[in-house]
Symmetry: C2
Subunit: 422 residues, 2 copies
C-alpha cells in the first residue's frame, strides 16, 4: 500500500473541484480517498505531497506511437507531399522490432508528461503490446484495416487475440478511414461489430477534401454514411472530426460516439480547427489525442488541452468560447471512456490507480487562482512530478522506473533511424 | 573563464546551421567559438555538453512581468470584462514592493525557460530594474505613458534616469497605445524621439476594434497615422500588429520597425492571428513576446515560437505557410534586436555570453532530424538545461543561481496575492 498525504485531490468524479486529503493505493487500485483517519494502517511507502495536486492521469485517445521515428523528419511541407513522399515510403521499411523500439521512445514521452494510456493505430500490434506491458502503460489497440489488419477476417483475428491478452491491454474494432477502404469493407466491419457487440473507431472528416469526396461518393458525409450502414450500433467514434457539421454532430450525439479531437495535428497539417465549442454545447462526447509524432510533434496532452481551448477562442473570435476546464476533462475522463477504460477514468475507491502528481509550487502555476484553468492554460509537462499506472510508479522527479533506461532506448532507436531514413 | 566542450553550436549568425565544437566565456563575454585547439588555457570551470546544443538565449520582446499576480485569475471571459473588471481594479492596488515581488516570480519563469532578457512595460519601473539586476537578467524598460510615466516630461525623466543605470538595463521610449492617449501626446513623444534620436514602441492594432476606431479618429490606421506624425524617424516598432494590412506592413518595412508578435496572448484574448507569413515574405522585422502572464498564461518563448509557426498554417490553411525556423530566429536574434540588444543577439566572439544549453537527448527531441524545426515544433522549456546571462550561469539542471530561492520568492508573493485579490 502506498499513501499520498497532504494532497490536493481532483477526483474529476463530477467536476474539477479540489479537496484536501489523502489517497491510498493497494495493489493496482485506489483503496482510500478522504481525510486523514485517526488510525493508519501500515504502508510500504508514504509520500508527502506537500499540497501538490493528485489527479487522474491523462489518456491519449489517438496516436500512432511508433511514428516517433519520423518526428521532425519533414516540416513545413504540404500534407500530400508529407504523406506520400515523407511518410509512406519510410513506413514501408519498418520491421516489428523497429516498431517496438519506436514505441518505447514514445512511451518515455507519455510517461513523463503524465499519460498512462494510449489508443494506438499502427503496424505490428504485437510490438506495441510488448512495449506497453514492459513499460507499465495501458495500451488500447485500434483495429486498423490498411494498417495491421488487411481485411475483416484478420481484424477479427486480431480482436480475438488481443482483447483479453493482458489486464492493461485492450482492443477496439476499427479501420483507417472511409477514403482508404470501400463500402464492402465498411459493411463487413459493421457486421463484425454487431456480432461482437463492439464499438468501432476510424479517422473521420480530418481534411476538407476527404469530407467532400465522401459526400461525392456516398451522397453523405462520413459520419452520416457510417450511421446509415449501422457501423455504430454499439458506439465508438472517430478521430479528428475537423469538418463536422451540425448533422454529423447529431449522429455522434444520438449514438453516444466519441469525437476524439487532435488539435495540434490539425494545426500543423493545416487541416483546420474542429468545432469543439459546438460539440460541447450540443452534448457530444469529446476526448483528446495527440496523433503521431510526425504530425504534431510532441506526444504531450498538455499541448492538446491548451490548443483545444485557445483555438476555439480564435475560431469563434470569442475569449469565452469554451471553458478551459472542459479540455482537462476531455484529456482525462473523456479520453479514458472513449477508449473503454472505465476503470481508470476518475479517482475513486476501487478504481485503478492511474494518477499523476502535479507540482503546484512551480512558478508557472503560481498563483493558483483556478487550478483546472491553470493546468490547461499555463501548465506543461514539466509540472508532472509523478506518474502512476495500475498502482505502479513509472516516473518520479524526473526518473523513470520502467525496467529500462532512456539511454538504452535512445541507443536502440538511433541505429534504426539511421537505417530507415539514412 | 568557462569552457563548454563537446557541443553542437547554433550561433545564429547567418542561419540556423549547427557546428560541432566548443565555446568559451570570459567575464560577461564569449571569448572563443571553434574547434578544440591544441593547447587549452586554464578555466575556472569546464562543462562537457555531451553533444547538446548551445544557442543564443531567448529574448522576450513584449511583457508586463508583474502581471504574474493575475495569472489564471480570470479565464474564459470576454476581453472588455477581463480588462475592466478583472485587471484594472486590481492593478490599482499594486505597490512598488508588490511589483518587485511579482517581477521576481516572472524572472523564475524567464530563467527556467531560457529567456535572459525581457522588454517590459508596467508600473514602478524601479522595482523591475531592481528585480532584474538582482536575478542576473537583462531588462529593457519600455516607456509607458498611461502606465509608469504620465506625460512626455515624465517619460523623458524616466528615459534619462534608466538609460544608463546599469549594464544590463535599458530604456526605450514608448507609450501604451494610440487609443489610450491623444494626438498632442503622440506628437510630444515624436518630438522627444527626434531630440534624443531614439526609437519608439507602442501597442498597436491588437484588436480589430482598436484598429478601426483609429481609422475613424485619424483617417488612417495606427501604423500609418504614427508614421505621418514622424513618430518613427529613428525606428522602433509595435506590439501585436494583429490587424496590420499591407500598407501597415509597408510602413514597418520602410522604417525598419519591429513587429513584435504575441501569438499566445492574441489567441487567449481572441484578438486574432497576426499576418506573420506576409510580414516575413515582405521583409518586415519580426520579433516575439509573451505579453503579461494574465493573458497567456505562461512566460514561455517556446509556446510563442510554436504558436507563431502553427497558427500561420491555420490562418493560411497551408502546412508550408512559414518555415518553423523563422520563429526560432524571431525569438532570439529578432527579439534581441527589437529591444536594442545588439551585443547579445547571436553567439560570436566579443558578444555578451547570453546563451542556453538544450538537452538534445530528451525523448521529445529525438530523433534530431532537423534541430531548428524540432526546437519550435516539439521543444519545450523542460529541454533547457542551462541558462547563462552576461557570462553568469543563472540556472542549471533545475537549480537557480540567483541569490534567492524559488521558495522565498513564492512565500513573498503568496501573502501579497491574498491581500490584492482576496
Amino acid at each position: 500500500m502506498i499513501r499520498f498525504y497532504n494532497a490536493n485531490i481532483m477526483t474529476m468524479a463530477e467536476d474539477c473541484a479540489v479537496q484536501r486529503g489523502e489517497l491510498w493505493t493497494d495493489g493496482d487500485q485506489i483503496s482510500y480517498i478522504g481525510e486523514t483517519p485517526a488510525e493508519l494502517p501500515a504502508f510500504e511507502r508514504e509520500i508527502d505531497v506537500r499540497g501538490n495536486l493528485l489527479m487522474p492521469s491523462f489518456k491519449n485517445a489517438h496516436t500512432h506511437s511508433a511514428m516517433t521515428f519520423l518526428r521532425s523528419f519533414a516540416e513545413d511541407v504540404p500534407l500530400q507531399t508529407w504523406l506520400f513522399e515523407k511518410v509512406f515510403p519510410y513506413e514501408d521499411r519498418l520491421t516489428a522490432e523497429d516498431v517496438y523500439a519506436f514505441d518505447r521512445l514514445a512511451n518515455l514521452e507519455y510517461i513523463a508528461s503524465g499519460t498512462t494510456a494510449f489508443f494506438d493505430m499502427y503496424f505490428y500490434p504485437d510490438s506495441t503490446v510488448q512495449a506497453a506491458i514492459e513499460c507499465g502503460l495501458r495500451g488500447v489497440l485500434c483495429g486498423s484495416i490498411n494498417g495491421s489488419a488487411k481485411d475483416v477476417e484478420r481484424l477479427n483475428d486480431q480482436f480475438q487475440k488481443f482483447r483479453k491478452i493482458h489486464p492493461r491491454i485492450g482492443y477496439r474494432l476499427g479501420f483507417h478511414a472511409e477514403y482508404t477502404s470501400d463500402e464492402s469493407l465498411h459493411r463487413g466491419v459493421a457486421e463484425l461489430a454487431h456480432a461482437e457487440k463492439q464499438p468501432v473507431y476510424t479517422h473521420i472528416s480530418e481534411t476538407k477534401t476527404e469530407h467532400e469526396e465522401c459526400i461525392a461518393r456516398h451522397g453523405a458525409t462520413p459520419a452520416q454514411y457510417f450511421e446509415s450502414i449501422g457501423l455504430w450500433e454499439y458506439g465508438g467514434g472517430g478521430f479528428h472530426g475537423v469538418w463536422f457539421d451540425e448533422a454529423d454532430r447529431a449522429v455522434y450525439r444520438r449514438n453516444g460516439l466519441w469525437m476524439v479531437s487532435c488539435p495540434a495535428s490539425n494545426a500543423k497539417l493545416a487541416s483546420g480547427i474542429a468545432p469543439l465549442k459546438e460539440a460541447l454545447s450540443e452534448g457530444v462526447n469529446v476526448a483528446l489525442g495527440t496523433d503521431g509524432a510526425a504530425s504534431i510533434n510532441a506526444l504531450d496532452m498538455f499541448r492538446e488541452m491548451y490548443l483545444g481551448a485557445v483555438l476555439q477562442k480564435l475560431r469563434h473570435m470569442d475569449a469565452a468560447a469554451i471553458p478551459a476546464a472542459a479540455m482537462l476533462r476531455a484529456a482525462t475522463v473523456g479520453s479514458a471512456r472513449a477508449m473503454g477504460l472505465h476503470d481508470c477514468d476518475i479517482l475513486a475507491e476501487g478504481k485503478q490507480a492511474d494518477l499523476i502528481e502535479i507540482d503546484l509550487h512551480a512558478p508557472n502555476l503560481q498563483p493558483t487562482h483556478h487550478i483546472p484553468e491553470s493546468l490547461v492554460l499555463n501548465g506543461d509537462r514539466s509540472n508532472v512530478m509523478l506518474t502512476m499506472c495500475a498502482g505502479k510508479i513509472l516516473y518520479e522527479n524526473g526518473e523513470y522506473f520502467i525496467g529500462v533506461t532512456p539511454e538504452e532506448i535512445l541507443a536502440d532507436t538511433a541505429s534504426r533511424i539511421d537505417r530507415l531514413t539514412g
